[in-house]
């Protein structure tokens, strides 16, 4: 046990991030009301510094801390950078909204930073309790953020639903942990793997435990049948928070699942091969339910919620295809996560700026957007096409890569199902594009012209959002056309977790 305090410096980024969060809180106390605009920039600067720092510090480090509770490896690094980068863009795209629609800006960013910290730790934790703590750190911040629009009943409702279901699910998760622990006495992923490997003489409690752990995680990624909270929470939460939920928390949960499965289940050999089917079924159900129900949606955020359920199905398919023989699947999952998150980011940035202008959130309100906001419409359309998986956009490449991986793992039927449901998804994505490009602009609420009712529609979106949109679109096309560099890094990352 002497290595408990060894090379703690490898955790500097985490400590620094926590410090940054507190700093934001403190500074917030001393800033006058009209100067709060400084805070987001502070946090962005901090995050950027952290990204640079951790890149310098942790470049190809391979270390296990605290007797293997935490891993500092390429996988963790990859996701840390990814999460912190996401954080930067989320903050960028939420600035205006927070300034105009919410109070207590300072805490908002502080809590955001804490959640990022939680995500980072999730990406590197190799043990159930640690993972759980990180998860709760993330979840709590999200509960708070979801409730952030204090005056808004919908925001409250979403937060309430979120916290209740979240709590139940984490209780289930913990119950699973406790059962696993009580049967095999260990909580580290690799120990679990070795325990599972010689599972013949172990009690069924172990399976149930594993099943419950799975439930807990599936809830986090809102996979069918643990998805019901997602639409409500997405719809009610303030816009940036919804974006954050859809992009950040999912990615983090998948990072955790990826590591758990890769280090905890896959080495168990044929045991895992038996369980692949279970994940595959969940994946298939998520795809179908998410995409079918999305067909019937009218509210933008809610639509995005269902569509994200569908995409979770795709990613789960990749998880189900994880195997010790090839890293194709894990590459696919990470690749998909990156591409999907960036695309989603663009879409949400567009939705947010549309909301900032009009305060509307129905699909029907998008009518004629292409006429008075061409750039916004273009970026939205690009995002939609990418989500639908059409080429020269990221969506196509990531889907192709992931589904190929799934197919090679002998799950061709699942790949086929995925491809089919992405056809279904095409329909509602196109509906949005149709609204923006083909339908005329609707009348304002009181009748009368929309543009007079919302003069903001005639000015261009704020600079911060434009940067998010622009860089996001560039990234989408880049990933769609030349993903090689990214995939090389991803390969390194997945080598770190796969045996």
């Amino acid at each position: 046990m002497n290595n408990l305090t060894d090379n703690l410096e490898l955790l500097t980024p985490e400590f620094a991030l926590a410090g940054l969060a507190f700093l934001v809180f403190v500074v917030d106390l001393f800033l006058p009301k009209d100067r709060k605009g400084f805070l987001p920039w502070l946090s962005i600067a901090g995050l950027l510094a952290l990204i640079a720092g951790s890149l310098v510090m942790l470049w190809d480090e391979e270390e296990l801390l605290y007797d293997g509770l935490l891993a500092v490896d390429a996988f963790a690094l990859f996701f840390k950078i990814f999460f912190m980068g996401l954080g930067v863009f989320i903050i960028l795209s939420s600035m205006d909204f927070v300034k105009n629609k919410l109070d207590h800006q300072g805490e908002f960013y502080g809590i955001l930073l804490f959640s990022i910290l939680g995500m980072n730790i999730m990406a590197q934790s190799r043990e159930l309790l640690t993972a759980y703590i990180a998860l709760e750190l993330l979840s709590f911040s999200l509960y708070v953020l979801a409730a952030y629009a204090k005056g808004d009943a919908r925001s409250n409702e979403s937060a309430l639903k979120y916290i209740i279901i979240g709590a139940v699910s984490s209780a289930i998760l913990l119950y699973g942990v406790s059962m696993v622990y009580s049967t095999v006495g260990v909580t580290k992923f690799d120990d679990i793997a070795s325990a599972l490997a010689l599972a013949a003489e172990v009690s069924p409690a172990l399976w149930v435990g594993v099943a419950l752990i799975l439930v807990g995680l599936m809830f986090k990624v809102s996979a069918v049948p643990f998805h019901m909270w997602a639409p409500d929470v997405y719809e009610g939460a303030p816009y940036p928070v919804t974006a954050y939920l859809a992009i950040g928390s999912k990615a983090a949960a998948f990072a955790l699942i990826l590591r758990l499965v890769a280090e905890g289940f896959v080495p168990a050999g044929d045991r895992w091969e038996q369980w692949q089917l279970i994940i595959a079924v969940l994946a298939g159900a998520s795809m179908l339910v998410g995409n079918f129900v999305a067909l019937a949606q009218k509210n933008l955020k809610r639509l995005m919620a269902y569509s994200s359920i569908g995409h979770v199905g795709f990613i789960l398919a990749g998880i189900a295809a994880l195997s010790s023989s090839s890293d194709l699947a894990s590459n696919g999952v990470m690749f998909y996560l990156v591409g999907y998150s960036i695309t989603n980011l663009v879409v949400f940035a567009a939705i947010i700026s549309f909301f900032n202008m009009t305060g509307k959130e129905m699909i029907a309100d998008l009518g004629g957007l292409a006429d008075h906001q061409p750039f916004l419409a273009a970026s939205m359309a690009m995002g939609m096409f990418s989500l639908a998986g059409l080429p020269i956009f990221a969506g196509f490449t990531i889907k192709f890569y992931l589904f190929t991986a799934v197919a090679t793992e002998g799950l061709l039927w699942l790949a086929g199902l995925a491809i089919f449901s992405s056809l279904i998804s095409l329909y509602y994505y196109l509906q949005i594009i149709r609204q923006m490009y083909i339908e005329p602009a609707p009348a304002a609420d009181g009748g009368g012209d929309l543009l007079q009712a919302h003069p903001a529609l005639t000015q261009r979106p704020s600079l911060t959002l434009l940067t998010v949109l622009g860089s996001g679109m560039a990234a989408i096309i880049w990933l769609g056309v030349y993903p090689k560099p990214l995939i090389d890094t991803i390969q390194a990352a997945s080598r770190a977790i796969l045996p």
């Binding site: 419950l212 049948p225 019901m228 089917l277 949606q297």
Partner: protein
């Protein structure tokens, strides 16, 4: 001789020039087209001459194993389907084949076309689409000449179709009126039906022989016959091919039941009728049968029997209709059909030479008749014989040449038609049973009758005063008529064997072996009696009006009815098209929209949306329901895990 291809090329060249630059040229470039065809006519003489001087030694020439005629074949590659030499690759050619049959047709086409075009210069004067008319005319001439020159079926088919489309354009030349439009469409589609047969036949032959070359096909047939179908073309294929080819021939040559388009085609300008629907295009069918005679006559020549029967039926039916029709041009049209029938009959009766001979004689005479009719219409603006009469007083020359044509076709001796018809009757009496002969003779009688009728009604009797303004046509129209008249008069004389090396047409165009001209006295006598009698009867009836037919008319009114309604062919076809064809297509169109589109296509889409709408109800918005869902899910998942592990 290998320069014969120049003949069509002149005209091919003329057409586009006129279309594009016509409006900038004097006379809209019509003279270009005349120049081209005249050039063709000149070249024709060179070809004839060089053929007469040619022998087996000449390049590309040989004695055809089938027809026994000196044949010259000049082949050019067009393009290759499939890499040259590779297995299954097909090389397509266009080459020319020259034998007496070709030469005869060349002469006919170039000459008549030349005459008609000169005639048209005047006839079509002042028409808004003057240039276009001549462009299409030379296009037609080119296609027709290619047709008779073709040495392989592919080229023949190409020319065949081009001829068809030109005829379509010319029939529908005055498209502002609905009738020509419809007539043109009818003509093209009806012939097209025959063409399907032709094309299938061609492909069938190709499939068997492996080449589109006619000589190759004939060779295959010959080998087949010699080896009794062991190798070469088997009897089945030969018969099927022959019948399919004949289908095409029936379409173009307006044989029953495809004859319906020709009378309507008279909606076109009269010169067009003269050239295309009397002298040249409609005989393409006869030419095709003659050209592919080896296939027809192979083995025991069953196809020829069918050819004979179709020809006979056509001849009779058309003649009978011509007898009662009152429209001058339609009378001529039906007479054309009838005579085409006779040619087919003659081919079907192994009267190869006779058929070709009659083809020429009829070509000249009928062209003459049409031009005459044209000049009548030109001056009277009437087409219905009821409106005419006594015109010989105002337009003597027209009357004269028209009469020549009529008498010639009616079979009055010395004139061309007499000799050729006599040859036909001879062939029939030699090779087919008496029934054929009797009906053939009856047809001859009828044709003399209706010719006489037309002639006497139009030109004899007393002039109606509404026709007082009528006048003789200008020289541009009469000159060609006169020239044709001379031919109609004297052409028959080439049937004799003259001193010198020319032993009559029988030794020039023949199949198998040349025959000197000979004349069956009793047959000739019978036909003369019939013809003369018919003309006298017609004279008494229609010129003198001394015989009254009302009794006969009322007595046989029902027959008359049937005949006057053209045996109800059009009605039947119309019904079929309206009820059957359009019915089906309407149904398909409806099916495509209502079933395929609205149900099979939209159905799934609606179902999907419905599924979505129903499925979303499971998210009730109540948190405990969600928890319930989670709990159930948890239990289910645990069970699933359990099942998968133990």
């Amino acid at each position: 001789m290998q320069w014969a291809w120049l003949i069509p090329v002149f005209c091919f060249a003329a057409a586009p020039v006129i279309v594009v630059f016509g409006r900038y040229l004097p006379e809209r470039g019509s003279w270009l087209s005349i120049l081209a065809i005249a050039g063709g006519f000149v070249v024709f003489w060179f070809v004839l001459n060089s053929w007469l001087n040619a022998d087996v030694a000449t390049m590309g020439c040989f004695i055809s194993e089938n027809s026994g005629m000196l044949t010259c074949d000049y082949d050019r590659s067009w393009f290759n389907a499939g890499v040259i030499g590779a297995v299954g690759s097909v090389s397509l050619h266009w080459g020319i084949l020259i034998d007496p049959l070709t030469i005869v047709m060349l002469g006919l086409v170039t000459f008549v076309a030349l005459m008609v075009q000169i005639y048209s210069m005047v006839y079509m004067e002042g028409d808004p689409r003057f240039g276009w008319y001549f462009a299409v005319h030379s296009m037609f001439a080119a296609a027709m000449l290619t047709l008779v020159l073709a040495d392989n079926f592919l080229l023949l088919y190409i020319a065949w179709e081009l001829v068809g489309i030109c005829s379509y354009l010319l029939i529908g030349f005055w498209h502002e009126r609905p009738e020509p439009r419809e007539a043109a469409k009818k003509a093209f589609i009806v012939t097209r039906i025959g063409d399907v047969g032709l094309l299938i036949g061609i492909l069938l032959i190709w499939r068997d022989v492996g080449s589109f070359g006619m000589t190759d096909a004939f060779e295959a047939v010959r080998v087949g016959v010699m080896t009794h179908g062991q190798e070469g073309m088997s009897q089945g294929v030969a018969t099927a091919a022959a019948l399919l080819l004949f289908l095409g021939a029936m379409g173009k040559s307006a044989q029953v039941p495809f004859h319906v388009w020709l009378p309507d085609a008279m909606e076109g300008p009269t010169p067009v009728s003269a050239l295309i629907h009397a002298a040249t295009m409609v005989v393409a069918g006869v030419y095709l049968v003659a050209r592919t005679y080896p296939i027809f006559s192979a083995y025991d020549a069953d196809p020829l029997l069918i050819v004979a029967i179709v020809g006979l039926v056509t001849a009779l039916m058309a003649a009978s209709i011509a007898l009662v029709s009152t429209d001058l041009k339609r009378i001529l049209a039906y007479s054309t059909i009838s005579h085409l029938g006779l040619m087919m009959l003659s081919l079907g009766a192994f009267g190869y030479t006779a058929a070709i001979f009659h083809l020429m004689a009829h070509g000249f005479s009928k062209a003459l008749l049409f031009l005459g009719a044209g000049s009548v219409l030109h001056s009277t603006e009437f087409q219905d014989t009821g409106e005419m009469g006594g015109l010989r007083k105002v337009m003597p020359l027209t009357a004269l040449v028209f009469s020549i044509g009529a008498l010639s076709l009616g079979g009055i001796p010395i004139l061309a038609g007499f000799w050729s018809k006599d040859e036909i009757l001879l062939a029939v009496s030699d090779n087919r049973n008496t029934a054929f002969l009797v009906m053939a003779l009856f047809t001859a009688l009828l044709s003399a009758l209706y010719m006489g009728r037309a002639m006497f009604i139009v030109f004899f009797g007393d002039l109606k005063e509404k026709n007082n303004h009528a006048h003789e046509s200008p020289i541009g129209m009469t000159m060609p008529m006169a020239l044709l008249g001379v031919l109609a008069l004297g052409f028959g004389l080439i049937s004799f064997n003259w001193p010198g090396d020319f032993g009559g047409i029988g030794t020039f165009v023949f199949f198998g072996h040349g025959e000197e001209f000979h004349f069956e006295v009793w047959l000739g006598a019978v036909s003369i009696v019939l013809a003369v009698g018919a003309f006298i009867f017609a004279y008494l009836t229609y010129a003198k009006r001394s015989i009254d037919l009302d009794y006969a008319r009322s007595r046989f009114s029902w027959i008359l009815n049937v005949i006057e309604n053209k045996y109800y062919f059009d009605e039947v076809y119309q019904w079929t098209i309206d009820r059957v064809v359009l019915g089906i297509s309407g149904f398909i169109a409806y099916f495509d929209r209502a079933i395929v589109n609205d149900i099979i296509v939209n159905g799934p889409a609606d179902v999907a949306r419905e599924v979505g709408i129903k499925m979303r109800l499971h998210i009730t918005g109540h948190v405990y329901a969600y928890v319930l869902g989670m709990a159930l899910g948890t239990i289910g998942l645990s069970i699933f895990v359990w099942l998968r592990t133990v």
